[in-house]
Amino acid sequence: MTGRLRFARTFSGALGLTIVFVVVFVALLGNYFAPHDPTAPVGVPLAGPSGGAWLGTDVLGRDVFSRLLYGGRSVIGLALVATLLAYVIGLTIGLIAGYTRSKADPILMRTVDVMLAFPPLLFLLVLITGAGTGTAVLVIGVAAIQAPGISRIVRTATLEISVRGYVEAAVARGERSIAVVVREVLPNILAPVLVDAGLRFTYSILIIASVNFLGLGLQPPNSDWALMISENRQYINLNVWAVLAPAAMIALLTIGINLTGDAIARSLGRSYVPKATQTVPTA
């Protein structure tokens, strides 16, 4: 395998990619394999695993396994869209501020500082109070919380890269700013950005889960991994799987995404991919 998928040859890259595939597969197509209706009670509430309900039942007696197969789509979908949107905004602001080093830089950065000073959850709650509940509001709110932090990281990385010889060589060739940024700057800030993206995605899931938990995001009886945790966490001693299974899915996805991100970051700029433990030769 050559080209862009070289990272998948490494152990961590292959493992990460496999995990992501499995979790995404469950989230997207899991509902076709669900043995029960995710919203209908199938037995006694909070019963342990049995032949009829492999992971037991939840607080309302619904099948945990079926709800697990149904509940990934919203978490992954919302968090993914929110994180992507946050990156579109954050990258743009960070690149403009960091690359041009013009008067826009202090203006953008002070605005970002004000945004960062807001408690994120409070911001989201105010937004929901004003604009009402709904997935669009949730996505925009989460993106708005994440974007300032992203733009700070991107700006710092850009500042460092934009004084390098290869960027100056491109400037001396008279290339347009957009070409310089896309060809010379962006690929070189990708490594920190990819690692950051993995963390941001996880954080998006957490925020969405918190909002759902407060009853302002997705509403019951929707099946959603985050919602499942918040509904059942009080009764964790009765059926641990009702909390553990959705939590494990979120954790798996996070690990998979971060492994993949790290492997891609390591594979950049090499015609082979070093193992994680191998030291990079200097000079």
Binding site: R164, A172, R173, G174, G269, A283
Partner: protein, 597 residues
Amino acid sequence: MSDVATAPVVRVENLCLSLNTGEPVVEDVSFSVGAGEILGLVGESGSGKTTTALALLGYTRTGVNVRSGVIEVGGQSIIGRDAKSLRSVRGKVVSYVPQDPGGALNPSMRVGDSIMDVLRAHRTATASDESVQAALSRVELGTDARFGERYPHQLSGGQQQRVTIAMACVCEPPVAVLDEPTTGLDVLTQDRILTELARLRDEDGMAMVYVSHDLAVVAKMADRIVVMYAGRVVENGPAADVIERPKHPYTRALVAAIPDFRHPRALQGIPGVSVGVGEWPAGCAFAPRCEHQEDRCCGGVPALEQATDAHAVRCVRWEELTLGEPRPEGARVAAVATTDDALLEVSGLHVQYRHGSRAAVDDVSFSIPQGRCVALVGESGSGKTTVGRCIAGLHEPTSGRIVFDGQELAGSARRRSLDQRRRIQIVFQNPFESLNPRHRVSSSIERPLRVLRRLSRGDADREVGELLDRVRLPRRVAERFPIELSGGERQRVAIARALAAKPDLLVCDEVTSALDVSVQAAVLELLSELQRDLRLSMLFITHNLGVVACIGDSVLVMDQGTLRESGPCAQVLAAPVDDYTRRLLSAAPRLPDAAVS
């Protein structure tokens, strides 16, 4: 000089270090250093010289282990100690002066506290402000009683290096290991530091192990020189002998690679690149690059033979080779068929940085004749790089005119015409930053072909191969990423990228200062040849006067933004008029005359 009667303070015997995977890094290294003696440890990057020197402190990089051998420093064995007992040795018995003092000093600690830390670790009784002040006085930083209260960022590079030297000396250890201590410093600062080190040796009788790739500096300091190549000692002898009568072809090649401003000669680079760990050939490791190579060189690793009592050499042919003979006086071939029409004329150039109090460049005027190489010399902060950047259109001058081939150039590259941008190219100082690490070599070289010469993808592809031939890189390098190349190879790629535009004027900004001397010689050779063959005009910015003599037709000397002296190279270097030029010349390290004339 060493006193034969006393026991050596450093004794290294049959030292072998290897990677966890088993590949040898340093093999069978032995040497000793007497009290008050300075040993120069010389070699290219990757020769194992730093690894050996750090082993004296009981330090090995992660993944590297001492396999066998003896290291004794100040009568104490170093190998096999645990971390705690090593700490009691470091700083007290053997201390360390790093290459990059800016990175080595804790930025959040006052320098006095840094020195105090060393005292507290080893000499609690005398840990007082007076001792710190005394330590600073010994490196001539004692005139200001409050100097110790400063932070590293408030000091110049030279002052920072003095502080690390004060830290290394404060507990009066019998041995100090110095790892390229002057590499990042200006000529004048380097000269002062070297004088200081020599004085410390004379006053305290401290033995030193001085690691460097620059034989000219080592020649000035060392009593003995150990030359390393591919992890082995290839030559070990008294400094004067090794430099003036080298016995090993590698040492000979290193001497031949050093540019000297008193005796300008055509430099000879060492062909090929130094072998890395795990690539050592079966026989003599230097054989593949050696002009005297024979079949038996590849048979097995040659033994280190005693040429005289004090001089050992690892070469099967050392007795039959006479390497000391003078080389043809290769005054560089003057560029052919040049006219004296100025290609570039700079007049009244003035650059003021937004927050700077004084001008970075102040009323600088000069011209570059067609096909000639003008060298621009100065220390860091002299404004020489800013001049180069103005010409390349990377920095807008505050005032002044730059006229190129009869047309006045706009301040920024973007407002210059495509043809103007194509005809002026720049090569940068740091080979590790001048190529985009995310692009393959082919893509880096192709870009100017496509952007500046509007070639089609196919034509550009073909020309990449030709350009790689031109800078003498194998064509397969095109598929590599910069991280997979050595510093010298990267700089060749950067030169190929500049040549891709078919320029008339090449601005070279300290292009060899980050390279080993052997690689520097090869790059200079290449640039001279290109200048001749392609009739390039060149502005060669450097701080190294030897390099100036090698490549320049005329020279400009800059100090604090102003032009101090200019004229033909031979004239300025032989009979400088300006006081500053004279100081630069007297401070520049160079080989003893016997080695070059």
